[in-house]
Assembly symmetry: C2
Homo-oligomer: 162 residues x 2
């Protein structure tokens, strides 16, 4: 019997939150929490104080980090679901900062289209390297404050995994 999707997401959320907080030093310092992980996507929550800058608003580098982590999470979970032992890295990205962040904020990323995810997994499995483009946004009480368009790459040392 297959587990219910809600159970799968809850298990994945716990695994992801501890992976991010415990293994990526900046994510722990920023007090990252996985607020939501479901069939639509992911939402990571951050309090303002660890991200604060000289103007009392969210530092651009902290917002960049939050978005890079939200984008990384979805292909990381997809690789885990399919038992693919690949390293997942960010290759290049574009950032836009459109409004100051004056309170707690969230980094949100939607799952990509099924075809894009399938082709990412197929290339990772077959060629040892898959690429996935994702769009991420910072949401605050006042709306979207920053966006990220990023290309992530999964790299498998050999096709049997490592």
């Amino acid at each position: 019997m297959q587990p219910e999707p809600e159970t799968v997401f809850a298990t994945e959320r716990d695994w992801l939150e501890s992976t991010l907080r415990d293994r990526i030093a900046l994510a722990g310092f920023m007090d990252l929490r996985v607020n939501r992980l479901d069939e639509t996507g992911i939402r990571l929550d951050f309090p303002l104080p660890p991200s604060i800058n000289d103007k009392g608003t969210g530092f651009g580098g902290a917002l960049a980090s939050a978005m890079i982590l939200a984008g990384w999470s979805l292909p990381r979970l997809a690789l885990r679901r399919h038992g693919l032992a690949a390293e997942l890295v960010i290759g290049r990205c574009q950032l836009r900062f459109t409004a100051p962040v004056r309170s707690a904020y969230s980094a949100c990323c939607d799952w990509p289209a099924d075809e894009a995810l399938e082709s990412f997994l197929t290339a990772t499995r077959g060629e040892g390297k898959g690429r996935l483009d994702l769009a991420v946004r910072i949401e605050t009480e006042g709306g979207v404050a920053a966006t990220l368009e990023a290309r992530y790459a999964a790299l498998t040392p050999n096709q049997e995994g490592s």
Copy 2:
């Protein structure tokens, strides 16, 4: 009598290091140090541990933060030298991550051409808003590991400053 350039740079370096470390929480956590500030540009040093990721290398968000801070520092100092009370923010940027960072690293930025800096200061003073494009790089023992091309904006609430 004008102070010697070396003395000016030493004073600015102390002011900048404490501004970055004490007023930008992430910079303090990342243990930022101003290694060099001179007529060629700036070099910020970072140890690896606070920037580490799940692969034991430098997290992309930490490298992004380091580069955003190095780029921010030069126009910030230029505004200070000219007594311009403006907020300095990053508007948009492009990042490329080209090699893993396996040890302590530096974020380096060269002063822009005189004409670009002059036009940034003139627009900030005259129109209350100036823009400056800067290129920043992450240097490690193995060479350049990441690059940033960013547009910074100085915003003056009114032409008398605030």
